[in-house]
């Protein structure tokens, strides 16, 4: 009986850890993170600079 309760507690802890990790990933993704955790890997927040097709530095052929 003790073992069953022990196993259930460990299983619940494991599920909680996994759910928390998945939830954190979902939250980060919703915030626009392209690389989880990376403070500089987020997409632009206002649309500017996001996949702009205008590229115009100096080119000499």
């Amino acid at each position: 009986m003790g073992n069953i309760i022990g196993n259930i507690i460990v299983a619940v802890i494991l599920v909680a850890i996994v759910v928390a990790a998945v939830a954190k990933i979902i939250v980060e993704k919703k915030k626009g993170a392209k690389c989880i955790g990376c403070p500089y890997g987020k997409g632009s927040e206002g649309g500017y600079g996001c996949c702009c097709s205008l590229h115009n530095d100096t080119e000499v052929n």
Binding site: L14, I25, C38, G41, L54, D57, V60
Partner: protein, 666 residues
């Protein structure tokens, strides 16, 4: 209320933005760090309790006439989004250049405040700016700021002035004639008039102490540090020093303490679980989560010391010199001068590095840079480097240094190959980068950079790495009939059966064990996973202080457990570092390349490079150390020859294309 921060590159806009909003956006002591706009609310204590004030950090620009994509973002925002107030950040140490843009902003009819930033540096140089006179000449408020300082930085006054002048009208001190945009001489004439006006303002308000010695000292230092040839060995020595401190001295000292805590926690949990808990649950918790994540997190002190030192190097202005040294090579192989920016950003994380390629106009150069940037050792690869240099090379700082140089060599070689495949060898671009002055690096800024990257490392360990370790542990614990695999029979597990076919392909590279193949595969999810998976599959909870641990398989050290020679270990490290990057970076590549052919070609190219580099390292390394080639030399050679033939075929087609283009041009 919306406040825009606009100014020249490297005037300190993002530093000011971070100080005003409390955020930690990436700053760098070189121009071009910000490539897109960023928004954030003003800190309550600066805004007098108001919460509706939003500050927008814009990429640096020299004028309102867009020349680069970043400049166009700034111009478009100011022109079309119409912020309520513009804070024009002016580099007080370079007043004459900065005011050109200021006069253009003052013509727009939006209230402008000039933030005279870096005022502290001016004081140190003995330069005096008459703020009152400048304000009168520009007909707008001018406030001295020190964005890097926590106190007396002028930020409160800056925000309160912004609130006061909102909705007011300002008279432009200089109104340029509207020039015909197609008439170059007319534009130049207007610009000349503007420069004359700026010159007259500066001559009235600035008293500069000419310190020729200071300038000549900077120049003399640059003549050595940014020298075309001397710069390379200097960079090698600097990186060796950085890796020595982070991986041989201070880093391991801190890591030993940290790992001790993780071990104690592991033992504590093990004690609580006792013997009654199911072996599978016990294994997931102890080996998968605590062991696997702990093995990765154990490297945190080493990584943080490394990040701290790299941030110091960047802040003092050294990394800008490295960019100058490397830029020469990149331009010679057909890359854009701007390619150096993504590559340097890629040393932190490949994702923002790849994203930074969007400022490169030429499609081929942009896509090539996006394909090659992930070769740079990013933060996620550092634990892998630290693990292998520690376990197989006695913490030698040369391993880490070597990885940076191999990465640069591969970028150059890769660019040379791609330029031939595309047949666009003649396209050359010029990129002018203003070198920041050398300065004493800020410990605070370096600490902030270190902490934000350390936090990112922990978040990744607690999310992606943790989940992967759980999955790896489950796949190792069960066979396909979902029966628990008995100890010693791990070869029958789901993980082993999936990884084994890949392991066969890796035999010519010196690491044909399924455990190593599994770790390399999970590395595609996140590179730190290589360490985490190795910890799980070999049941090693600690890669740093292994003396007190009983290792599996009767081996007395980690190298013995893995069954690798030093040469094979180096090949394995190179394979993981220089093959296709993690999925996040792959996603960024897809977005920036905007072309399926380039994208899939890039993935295949990266795989080929990783395989070939590992093959050469293992086979020739084994030849040099033992006098004979390693295992499966001929099959491996056949694979490499096939891959190289495919590349050569496409390069040949590219040559033909180039020849046709040259004929048409002639």
């Amino acid at each position: 209320m919306k406040i825009a921060l606009a100014g020249n590159p490297n005037s300190g806009k993002t530093t000011l933005f971070n100080a005003i909003t409390g955020r930690i956006e990436r700053v760098g002591n070189w121009p071009g760090v910000t490539i897109e706009k960023k928004e954030g609310p003003v800190k309550k204590n600066l805004a007098g309790g108001k919460t509706n004030i939003v500050v927008v950090d814009l990429p640096g620009t020299y004028s309102m006439s867009p020349f680069t994509q970043e400049e166009d973002i700034t111009r478009s925002f100011i022109k079309y989004e119409k912020p309520d107030v513009i804070i024009n950040i002016v580099d007080a140490t370079n007043l004459s250049r900065s005011l050109f843009f200021t006069t253009q902003l003052l013509e727009l009819g939006i209230p402008v405040i000039v933030a005279l930033n870096k005022s502290d540096l001016n004081r140190k140089k003995g330069t005096v700016i008459n703020v009152q006179a400048l304000s009168e000449r520009l007909k707008c408020p001018v406030i001295e700021t020190i964005a890097t300082s926590g106190r007396n930085n002028g930020l409160k006054e800056l925000i309160s002035t912004a609130l006061k002048i909102r909705g007011t009208k300002q008279e432009a001190p200089f109104v340029g004639k509207v020039a015909n945009s197609n008439d170059k001489s007319e534009i130049e004439a207007v610009d000349r008039q503007r420069f004359e006006f700026v010159k007259s303002v500066v001559s009235e308000v600035e008293i500069k102490k000419h310190d020729d010695n200071r300038l000549s000292r900077q120049d003399a230092a640059d003549r050595i540090i940014a020298h075309r040839w001397l710069g390379i060995p200097i960079f090698a020595v600097v990186m060796w020093g950085v890796f020595s401190i982070s991986q041989a001295y201070l880093g391991p000292f801190l890591a030993d303490i940290f790992v001790g805590w993780i071990d104690a926690f592991h033992a504590w949990v093990e004690g609580i679980l006792g013997e009654g808990v199911s072996p599978v649950l016990r294994s997931i918790l102890l080996d998968g989560i605590i062991g696997g994540v702990g093995a990765v997190v154990g490297f945190l002190p080493l990584i943080m010391v490394l990040f701290f030192l790299l941030a110091l190097l960047e802040d003092c202005g050294y990394m800008a010199r490295v960019a100058v040294v490397m830029d020469r090579f990149l331009k010679k192989v057909g890359l854009s001068g701007k390619s150096i920016i993504p590559i340097i950003i890629g040393t932190g994380c490949a994702v923002p590095g790849v994203m930074a390629t969007r400022t490169i106009k030429n499609d081929r150069q942009r896509r090539t840079t996006a394909m090659l940037t992930p070769f740079m050792p990013c933060g996620a690869k550092l634990p892998v480097i630290a693990l292998f240099s520690g376990v197989f090379f006695n913490d030698s700082p040369w391993v880490g240094t070597l990885m940076y140089f191999v990465a640069v060599a591969l970028i150059i070689a890769g660019a040379l190959i791609i330029v031939r495949i595309t047949g666009e060898r003649n396209a050359k671009t010029y990129f002018i980068m203003e070198l920041p002055e050398y300065r004493f690096p800020s410990l605070k800024r370096a600490a902030i950079s270190m902490l934000s990257r350390g936090k990112a490392f922990i978040i990744r360990a607690g999310t992606i790495i943790l989940l992967c370790n759980v999955v790896v542990n489950l796949m190792q614990s069960f066979d396909w009939s979902l029966h628990v695999v008995e100890e010693g029979a791990e070869n029958t597990s789901i993980l082993a059966s999936i990884a084994s076919p890949f392991a066969v392909l890796l035999i010519p590279l010196g690491f044909g064990a399924w455990q190593l193949a599994a770790a390399a595969i999970t590395g595609f999810i996140a590179k730190e996973n290589v360490v985490g998976t190795l910890a799980v599959v070999y049941s090693i909870t600690n890669f740093i202080d292994t003396e007190e641990f009983e290792l599996v398989g009767g081996a007395t050290n980690v190298a013995g457990v893995m069954g690798l020679t030093s040469v094979a270990a180096l090949a394995y490290l190179m394979f993981n570092l220089f093959t296709t990057p993690c999925f996040a970076a792959i996603g960024a590549m897809r977005a920036e390349m905007e072309n399926k052919k380039w994208f899939w070609g890039g993935i295949a190219f990266q795989l080929c490079i990783g395989y070939t580099v590992a093959f050469i390292t293992y086979q020739f390394g084994t030849l040099f150390t033992t006098g004979a080639f390693g295992t499966a030399f001929l099959p491996g050679l056949a694979v490499v020859i096939i891959m190289m033939s495919v590349i050569a075929y496409f390069a040949g087609k590219g040559e033909q294309k180039a020849a046709v283009k040259a004929t048409l041009r002639a």
